[in-house]
Symmetry: C2
Subunit: 204 residues, 2 copies
Amino acid sequence: MSDPQEKVSSKDTEEVIMEATFRALSKHGYKDLRMRDIGDEMELTRQVIHYHFDGKYDLMSAFLEHIIEQYEGSVEVDGDADPRSELDARIDQCLFGPEFEEFTHWDRMKVYHELYTYAQNDGEHRKVFNEHYDRIRGSIVEVVEDGIEQGEFRDVNVDRMGQLITDVIHAARGRRISLGHEDAPEEARRAIDEFILDSLYADA
Amino acid sequence: MSDPQEKVSSKDTEEVIMEATFRALSKHGYKDLRMRDIGDEMELTRQVIHYHFDGKYDLMSAFLEHIIEQYEGSVEVDGDADPRSELDARIDQCLFGPEFEEFTHWDRMKVYHELYTYAQNDGEHRKVFNEHYDRIRGSIVEVVEDGIEQGEFRDVNVDRMGQLITDVIHAARGRRISLGHEDAPEEARRAIDEFILDSLYADA
DNA sequence: TTAAAAATTTACCGCTCGGTAAAGATTCGG
DNA sequence: CCGAATCTTTACCGAGCGGTAAATTTTTAA
């Protein structure tokens, strides 16, 4: 009875559904996602979904929050490092993902990007993404601010700088995913180093 | 009989279908696009589409080439200007569109971005986008190369620089479209100016 | 003028989709 | 141990989808 693999409570089922949704989404893409595909990705029947969620849209909304939670939960910080190292670490994490789960990172990003793009047709989802985006950018802006306060960086417009870095990260990811440019993240990393971060030091 | 508005030849009809597809796509998004929606956007019946195109996928492929053609056709060049002006002009055109058709530019970009993202699930479309992307980036790289040859710019890695600029443009557009950040293009323009293009002059 | 070819419309269809209702199984409270 | 509540499965459905076939109109070529 306390057999760990037989225990399936309500919360576990919803988690199972989330993971199945993730796999189905990875395989078929958002446009061609059918409830049936999700059912095929789990041991349970597809109809259980309707018991736990109120239809397809509700499911997708729940999944959106789920994947964003995972994203933000995977970000690690080392508050003690110097601003430059901290900044580098954050950029790396956004571009390459946490070291230990590299293999799922791009699958997750693929799905994330697809939902991100379709959000233009959905006010609800757009709002969720906006809040998430603010947090990500904010965390980078913060590091730049610290660097300036500590006198390591020049006094630049932090919002503009944070936004620029976030944008480059975003574009490189999108390019790797949509166009298949495997080296996009690494190249973006170098470009940020060579052409952007030097603006934090140069005395204009 | 030579009444200009009554004349409807085969090529014209395909053009009508392309425009209707564009409008339908703008309204409903790729995911929720039905053949019926396209029919609703034109005077002709929706079944004519099946006469001119071999099903929905064939239509979408044709439309993809159509919209990319439009995009590239709208780019104007002034070969005589100095490299910096030329570069500025190109960036502006990518970010804000040709002056005279600003009102359609963002509708087109919206559709473009959606197809771009979905291309990750479609090898055929991905290939088309890759070729297109190479041309756009190439045109920017070219200008930077000219600037270096003419001694106006520092001797940077042109591919990396071209890619970076293209990425920032792309991300800003995506952000305006998906998240609704109206000021994204202008902010990106400033960021490019302040933090990237200065790398073309600074002596390291 | 006319007949064939091209283009469009009308009418229709099979299938797949998301969703539901009721039966069945499992868990929980006493 | 039992009854109730929770959860899952089985069986099914109607709406809406992309697509087709044949009738109809328009254009083309003689």
